[in-house]
């Protein structure tokens, strides 16, 4: 019985409401944080940081954003890429046009602008649901693709439409090595994950879930659907916008509007479905899965002596994603996070299952 609840009595509601209620969970998360903050930067090489860990962190952040909207509030969005783009181009223009502002403030304001756009495009959710809402958010995606490609002001009239992020200078701390970039992203991810977790276990989060599970019942206990939905759009877009800034400024460095196309929106949707709707942990699991699978598919066959063409690998990738999504949607809408939880529950009782 390495993992168990018996003998750990909670003597106050404050303890019962803690994020990690079990001692084993608290030890586990402390270990993960120590590894993430100290172990990984010491051991990982540049390639691992740049090609895998930094994108993983930023995509986790974006997935948290989408999960707040889709997993917690039940409002489907195919426009997460667009919110990321709004964040990225807002930060770019703020840094360019108001150079006296500190970069951190640019990031924050970019998130707020994305939140504003989120509210505007969340308005249709008052009237339409499900598929129709998906189509409305898809329209935003296409609109954003078009706007950032065609409205040259956004890209400062650069001939190619490709723009470059400014030097990452945070009050004198210049982030230029991969390790520092990793730390920067990790700091954002830890902070936002904690805030998101706090929100979903507070009044606001419960009103989102109430709307998701049964909007008419939510209304009779005094929840205003419009308020709940728009706040979910706003918070979700803020987080996605921030992820967009990091993706552009930290991961890509210079980028084109295509960086935030519909592909990105779908990838994030897959992450949330596979990782687990309505779970912050699931956002991380989904992001890890989708970042690592292509790399695994690239390397694994070669290791056992099979050579696959790159085209074949990317076909395989899509086939596996597709199959998994269908399977998860049918059998486990709460995704990998739920599987993890079931595993934990088994461990709790082990070796005495009843």
């Amino acid at each position: 019985m390495i993992y168990r609840e018996t003998g750990q009595f909670r003597t106050s509601y404050a303890e019962d409401q803690a994020i990690f209620r079990l001692r084993e969970d608290r030890i586990g998360i402390a270990a993960i944080l120590a590894i993430a903050w100290v172990g990984v930067p010491l051991l990982a090489d540049e390639y691992l940081l740049r090609a895998i860990l930094i994108p993983f962190l930023i995509l986790s952040l974006a997935a948290i954003g989408l999960n707040l909207l889709l997993g917690y509030c039940g409002q489907i969005s195919l426009g997460t890429g667009a919110f990321m783009a709004v964040g990225a181009y807002s930060a770019y223009n703020l840094a360019l046009r108001l150079p006296e502002l500190p970069l951190l403030l640019d990031f924050f304001l970019a998130g707020l602008i994305a939140a504003g756009v989120g509210i505007v495009f969340g308005l249709p959710s008052f009237r339409i649901k499900g598929l129709y809402l998906a189509v409305a958010t898809l329209a935003l995606q296409f609109f954003a693709d078009w706007a950032f490609l065609r409205v040259r002001w956004f890209t400062n009239y650069t001939p190619s439409g490709s723009v470059t992020a400014p030097v990452l200078d945070f009050f004198g701390w210049v982030v230029d090595t991969e390790r520092e970039k990793y730390w920067l992203c990790l700091a954002f991810v830890c902070a936002i994950a904690l805030l998101a977790k706090n929100l979903v276990r507070s009044r606001l989060g419960r009103s989102w879930m109430a709307i998701r599970d049964m909007d008419i019942a939510a209304e009779i206990i005094g929840i205003r659907p419009m308020h709940a939905k728009l706040s979910a759009f706003a918070v979700s877009s803020f987080v996605a916008g921030l992820a967009g800034v990091l993706w552009a400024f930290v991961h890509l460095g210079s980028w084109e509007p295509l960086a935030f196309s519909i592909d990105m929106s779908f990838r994030l949707l897959f992450m949330v479905i596979i990782g687990g709707m309505g779970s912050i942990l699931g956002s991380f699991l989904g992001a890890a899965f989708i970042t690592i699978l292509p790399i695994f598919l690239n390397q694994a066959p070669a290791m056992i002596g099979i050579r696959l063409s790159t085209a074949m690998v990317s076909h395989l990738e899509f086939m596996i994603f597709g199959t998994l999504i269908v399977l998860f949607l049918i059998w486990e809408p709460h995704g990998l996070a739920r599987l993890w939880q079931i595993g934990k529950e088994k461990m709790r009782l082990w070796p005495f299952p009843y």
Binding site: S202, R203, M209, R212, A217, G222, G278
Partner: protein
Amino acid sequence: MAVASAPVATSAERAARRERRIGEVLLAVENISLRFGGVRALSNVSFDIRRGEIRAIIGPNGAGKSSMLNVINGFYQPQEGRIVWKGRVFTRMRPHEAAKGGIARTFQNIALFKGMSTLDNIMTGRILKMRASFLEQAFRIGRGRSEELRERAFVERIIDFLEITHIRHVPVGKLPYGLQKRVELARALAMEPELLLLDEPMAGMNLEEKEDMCRFILDVNEEFGTTVALIEHDMSVVMDISDRVVVLDYGRLLADGTPEEVRNDPAVIEAYLGVAHG
């Protein structure tokens, strides 16, 4: 007409005690008419509910009972008539207004939040009592922290009262029907309503569960002074616990009075015999 003629021993005393407490008119529906296309769900129905009483609404299937509750808490908009709630006149009540004003309800087909735990479901009933700002919630500071603890303690009292401590952390979708009905009552009680509307709270329950539910309703009424309006098909229950009964039939008001009066009303007897119900 399956009417239990021998009420339980305590019910007479209880009724006597309540009688002393029953106060002014809390809610009056006046000349309510509601149509769905060609269907007349309610035609010109008027009655009132007094503070502190247990008011039953009975009638055959499709009589318009649920529709009446839906009108009261703003779910359906009647074409004619008005609602007087605590002296204020509404021609159109809205669900969140009703909630704010102190009207809570449960549904005939349970309307819980299936993906949330029992505790979270009941906590949603406290949403209107919570004031923490967005930042206080996100950082879990100030009211964001204190309110959660305060409301949790409040909700725990309801959980104790309704004897559902063992299912606190279970997602309600996994609970058996009888317990779901109880959690739904708990969520309504968490709103500290002045008027509690219960749509067939005992439907589909076994005898033991029904007795528990009856006891809870009586206790709520007595201990918290909550006014209750309930729809129920089981006549023995209705006769036992209600102070006054409204009878609806085909959307019309058929009778209104004490259980005794209603039971002996020829029109009521005929309506029930006529549709071979009860």
